[in-house]
Amino acid sequence: MAAFDEQVANTATKSGAEDLRDPAYLKIRDVIYQISGIYQPEEKLYLLASRCARRMSAVHAKSPSEYLDHLTILANRDTELRLLLNEITIGETYMFRSPPQLDALRNVILPQLIEAKSAMGFKRLRLWSAGCSTGEEPYTLAMFLLEESAHLLAGWTFDILATDLNDNSLAAARAGIYREYALRSTSEQLRKKYFRPHDEERLQVTDQIKSLIRFDRVNLNDDGKMTFLKGIDLIFCCNVLIYFDLSSKRKVVQHFYSNLLPGGYLFLGHAESLYQVDDRFQLVHFPGAIGYWKAPVVYRGDGKP
């Protein structure tokens, strides 16, 4: 717990395979955080080290500090950072990946939204999976909402917009065919209800689920298209902004802020942070999850919001 508890009397190493005491790993961690917003606590540096190891051998870097040069000084630094981020976020996509996020939706956010929107006579929710990749996230949200439509969301309608830049990913998302890996956290009950067998190894989502989702190709850097999207209640943008430079990241997050209705939330990947990217969203903690909230403007009568 070196970062956390500075009175460490010893240096604990997790695996011994990497020399984690090499301060270059901390610098690499900080570079990644500064540029992408992805953070690794010091106790989990062994994970980062193993991701770096693959890239280090690819670029023939002999030490972490030599590899740090590839990320900071050398001409290939943008490409290399992108490749390292691919390593860091690889294989993370599967359905129901973040139960704490869904718990927060069920127990805190939906009751909040339902109360506020019912008061205005609305019974419709709009969700957006921005950077939906191969579709695991929007399908998870669709199943979650359908399950809640028997309770919390009785009488409500909802639609889910799922966008990505990559045509191949979008095609896979539209097809909705998944292997065991993507389904490892999906209960037997939900599999039966919302999937049908595709072949011996794969399941396909049912048309009922698909009908809730509109897939579209959207470049988050495309101001025209981004300005057009309005009236969203919840945006999910997981491990997408990490590939943007600071100024485009700021621009995208500003767009998200306008896309959202007051009272809406933006969710990012679990290790992502908006620190110093944006100061309009309010960081809100839920048990095990962090959301960024667009606070409704409250007029106090003194002319200040």
Binding site: F4, Q7, A9, E43, D103, V284, G288, I290
Partner: protein, 302 residues
């Protein structure tokens, strides 16, 4: 708030002082916990750690665990050096306070309770350093003892307290809200009575009494620190062991404003990063708590 109910149990709480060994070890420990690490007398810690054979054995076992590099530690002294003084102090205080509740009397899971207390201690010290609060070690100690009242409620009114826990668990409620309903008072108030009897310092008593009372936090930086750390812990799986339905906008919290007023560095704190650091600290917190509360279990770590 039903203060007459609190007055009814006051004699019971004050009688707790009669339980042997607690004040004898707790008092020197609490004063030591507030010293800077370089001022702590290691011989005194060795002496305190050796007073109970089980605790001494735990320190040695922990020093030999994989988390600390699997040394061949055989003496209490070398175990303490391997673990670090601050960690040993936490283990000792945990053991001593834990002994005021007989093991079959816990209505609250002891491991969960100490995970929360130790988590809060670490987060408080971390935040204290981040914002320039002058006494990080006091923040650490305050975190360790802030929920003393939970031990008090366990002993003084176990039946009602169990009901309070059940209600909280069933309704995803904060524990102190459920205590108000089921007991008529909270662990903050019962903890304060014991802390006064044990002659804790005034700001420690305030941290115990006011850490859930945002209306009282202005110009009480230690209680504000504990309020925020307690929330962060409950939000990162270091809480009371059940789901609490909450969405907390910390930077909009009264404690945050009270603290930021005095310590402007707080406004610059990267909260997302602090939160992820708490997650990273989980392994060590678990190891320390296991050292205190799972004495008979062989290590299963690889």
């Amino acid at each position: 708030m039903n203060s007459s109910k609190l007055e009814q149990i006051r004699p019971k709480i004050e009688a707790l002082e009669a339980i042997p060994t607690i004040p004898a070890v707790v008092l020197p420990l609490t004063s030591m916990l507030q010293s800077a690490p370089d001022q702590v007398n290691i011989e005194r810690i060795v002496e305190l750690a050796s007073y109970d054979g089980t605790i001494a054995a735990q320190c040695i076992r922990m020093a030999n665990s994989p988390l600390f590099g699997r040394r061949n530690t055989e003496t209490v002294r070398s175990a303490i050096l391997a673990l670090g003084l601050k960690r040993v102090e936490a283990i000792l205080l945990g053991c001593c306070l834990n002994q005021i509740v007989p093991s079959d009397k816990w209505v609250f899971d002891a491991v969960t309770f100490w995970r929360h207390s130790l988590g809060c201690a670490l987060v408080s010290r971390r935040m204290a350093k981040l914002i320039g609060y002058p006494d990080p070690e006091k923040a650490y100690l305050a975190g360790l003892v802030h929920d003393l009242g939970i031990l008090v409620n366990t002993i003084a009114c176990p039946g009602d307290f169990l009901q309070a826990i059940r209600t909280a668990r069933a309704e995803f409620l904060a524990l102190h809200r459920s205590e108000e309903r089921n007991l008529g008072f909270t662990h903050c108030q019962s903890g304060k009575i014991l802390a006064e009897r044990w002659s804790f310092s005034a700001d420690l008593i305030e941290a115990i009494e006011f850490h859930h009372d945002v209306g009282q936090l202005a110009s009480r930086p230690l209680a504000s620190l504990i309020h925020i750390s307690d929330l962060l812990c409950r939000l990162r799986d270091l809480g009371y062991g059940y789901y609490e339905a909450m969405g907390v906008h910390l930077a909009g919290d009264a404690a945050w404003a009270a603290l930021a007023n005095q310590y402007p560095e707080l406004a610059k704190t990267d909260l997302a990063r602090l939160t992820m650091d708490i997650d990273g600290a989980m392994d060590e917190i678990t190891a320390i708590v296991d050292a205190v509360f799972k004495p008979q279990q062989p290590s299963t770590e690889q």
